[in-house]
Subunit: 202 residues, 2 copies
């Protein structure tokens, strides 16, 4: 299909599609003349993914580019899928690693005590460290035992996440990365609804 | 303490403190002369809260103002705490209610089938509706049964949330509103760690 048809199909303007092409978020179409190119269903799907990540996912262009690079990487190793996905995701929101942060902070000790796999310079643990510290600053005190209660609950969420990962490596990367980002607002809405349901019960 | 001391204590510039005062995020100090005012520990605590909400919580000034209005409201009714908190929180991120959205969408049916309390024009359910739809658009298919699995897990999260609400009404509002916002990044980091832990287990 021509770029104008692609624009109609996806409800995204031709100008925006050209921007995605320039930014490398969308692979080029098949050139049919010096000025025209043909696009196919894979372009429709990719544009929908980019829109979902930027609109509902709230990601910036750089983050979307990183996620797409993970998805498009040739033949990713099955075992690396999760690590790659997590790197792309923590890279998206985290500032430069903060050298001043104690690397043996509260979150590190807590994760180690829980027996969850971790290592030096673990960016996800550093993220937990900052988020936990921010709670305390805001006057929301979270004891270690309460963090364990949350962790028990979130392990159940993660079981659902992991069970949904399809067997093929390509699909797996896509599902883990996109699912982790896109399901955040779903889980956030569920939490408000569940808080309400539980309060009503008594 | 003088405003300069308040700035040192909170590591926030005098200019920013004046901005918070103008924006109504910080109550005025006790005027001691035409040009100077005295501030106390409540101002230190309030500035830390504002910083936590804007920095780690990622909220804009308007959202912080709404949350502070809920916290400062005189004698909030105990039973209204959760509703008020949820209104402040969904108001913060949601656009104007979209009249074009079908009010009997998939999320509405699912919430009703689950037996969770809801009503017409429920903003939290509308939020779930949009987030679920965005997942589908991004190619992340979430069946009703999978949503139930997530809901079972998130109910456990909400039980921890609700158990942490202190008995006093003032503290309750603060805890629910601030806790719901500030714990989001904590839960998000826990999810990545738990995904990893579960994948390693096999």
């Amino acid at each position: 299909m021509r770029i104008s048809v692609l624009a109609t199909r996806t409800e995204v303007s031709v100008g925006t599609i050209k921007f995605y092409l320039r930014e490398g978020l969308l692979p080029p179409g098949r050139q049919t003349s010096r000025t025209t190119a043909e696009y196919d269903e894979s372009h429709v799907e990719r544009i929908r993914l980019v829109r979902a990540l930027t609109d509902a996912g709230g990601l910036g262009i750089a983050a979307v580019r990183r996620i797409i690079a993970v998805i498009d990487a040739p033949d990713p190793q099955r075992l690396d899928v999760l690590a790659t996905a997590q790197d792309a995701l923590t890279g998206r929101v985290d500032p430069e690693p903060d050298d001043s942060a104690a690397s043996v902070g509260r979150a590190h000790s807590w994760v180690a005590a829980r027996g969850w796999p971790t290592g030096p310079g673990d960016r996800v643990v550093e993220r937990l460290e900052r988020a936990w510290e921010a709670c305390e600053q805001a006057g929301v005190h979270v004891e270690d035992s309460m963090m364990d209660d949350y962790a028990d609950a979130v392990e159940q969420v993660a079981r659902v996440d992991v069970a949904a990962v399809p067997p093929g490596a390509d699909d797996a990367v896509r599902r883990v990365v996109v699912g982790t980002v896109m399901l955040e607002p779903v889980l956030s809405a569920l939490r408000l609804l569940a808080q309400r349901a539980i309060s009503v019960q008594g």
